[in-house]
Amino acid sequence: MTHDESATDGWFAGIDPGDTDAAQAAVRDGSATAPRDWPTLAAESGFAEREEYYRLLHEATMAATRAEVREREQADDQQLIHAIRALDDCQRVANELTERVGEWAGSQDADADVDDEYIAALAEREPDSPMEDRLVSLADRIVGLQEESRSLQTVVESTATSVAPNLTALAGPELAARLIALAGGLDELAKKPAGTVQVLGAEDALFAHLRGGAPSPKHGIIYTHEYVRGTRPEDRGSAARALAGKLAIAARVDNYAGEYRPELEAELDDRMERIRARENQ
């Protein structure tokens, strides 16, 4: 049996046949300038005979790919967190600059009713002084930031759907992204009990409650969900509990299984219908 030099390029080179960790790292991080008859080389180098070689290769590629998928998707949830925060920033600064333009435009035109439509029209105006040029230009920057917000909404939507299809189906892309951001990641969110999901974003109120005196918060950011906000006050606690329960399950399915399960949404809709039915009694 001759030892072929290029066997050192193979994923199995220098690896103990039982060492899955080393094998999967080699699959992930290795490379070669050209393919070789690796099964034969592996047998020649004493790594494993053909049948056993394929068994080990299957084990190594499964482990390597599973780990890398997890990492890459976690990277995606981190990107989603950055995107939703950037979206919030863009909307906030667009609003702040709109207020500034409102005051400024109001000094020239007391009747100015400064909404998005006014800003859009102002951005198109032909300025007739260097000062008005700036006002018009500032309005145009605001229009740009509003466009940026819409583009960020689009990417938040597609990324949330890809990273957490079930959570997104139940919560909508923005709330899904905010929950993931508040938890610090999908994996972190999936580990949280429903009660914690229910009050995510209400940390201040929660700490006040824990220090004593303040009432326990009934909901955090999930208040923005139509199923909480649109439910009459006396049933809002039940609605928030039911929603948070389903969202926690959805986050776990997304993190551990990753496939879309339409029945989750149907179950939530049913549950909410029953809670809201009380209103009509």
Binding site: D9, G10, W11, A26, V27, G30, S31, A32, T33, A34, P35, R36, D37, W38, P39, Y54, R55, L57, H58, T61, M62, A64, T65, R66, E68, V69, R72, E73, D76, S162, G258, E259
Partner: protein
């Protein structure tokens, strides 16, 4: 001319090709056979037309653009060692489930445009099946030519819209074939309509 392990069956009132294996995507099954739907698999269209693909019972296969495994699951049902390259994490998650049931299927989260990143794993193969919906599909085929045995075959499906959404598909196909001729001899090139709009099915041998 169908490969051994691929049979024509009538299941649940539908007739078509089928392979033996664990069901993957809710396809009709009977007696361990799973229907291989032409409208969901470009390769199935070619096999159904009895085009010579070089695929056979026990063939070694490199599958580029395996996606969530719909087609590659059928391939692994009858072929030998099957290397499944896919770049996107989400479909790969589904592909992992498919591979869990198939000991001869090796999932690789790699970019088909960077063959050196999996050349240390993939052995020379009898058939490359390529179905990557990215720009530069001919370049991917040329870059991966090194994996093909001298008597091997490339089975390629070209998606016109991935090259250029604004151009006439015929013009795109012509350009892809021209580029492909730099490393392959084209033996078959036909539209995959009516099952797959604006897709060209190609079989080629290394030159």
């Amino acid at each position: 001319m169908s490969p051994d392990g691929v049979a024509r069956k009538s299941i649940d009132g539908e007739t078509g090709l089928a392979t033996e294996g664990e069901p993957v995507y809710g396809e009709p099954t009977a007696d361990g056979w799973r229907l291989w739907d032409r409208s969901r698999s470009k390769l199935a269209v070619l096999l159904d037309r009895e085009v010579e693909t070089g695929l056979d019972d026990g063939s070694t296969v490199l599958y580029l653009g395996a996606a969530s495994g719909t087609t590659v699951s059928h391939v692994a049902d009858f072929a030998g060692p099957t290397y499944a390259v896919e770049f996107a994490p989400r479909p790969m998650r589904d592909l992992l489930d498919v591979a869990a049931d198939r000991e001869n299927l090796f999932p690789l989260l790699k970019d088909a445009r960077e063959p050196e990143s999996y050349a240390h794993v993939v052995e020379p193969v009898d058939v490359i099946v390529q179905d990557v919906a990215i720009r530069g599909q001919a370049d991917v085929a040329l870059a991966n030519r090194q994996f093909l045995r001298e008597d091997g075959r490339l089975v390629l499906s070209v998606k016109a819209r991935s090259e250029d959404v604004t151009r006439d598909p015929e013009a795109v196909f012509e350009e892809v074939e021209e580029r492909l001729a730099e490393g392959y001899e084209i033996e078959y090139a036909e539209s995959l309509e009516p099952f797959h709009d604006d897709h060209l099915g190609v079989v080629a041998t290394p030159e």
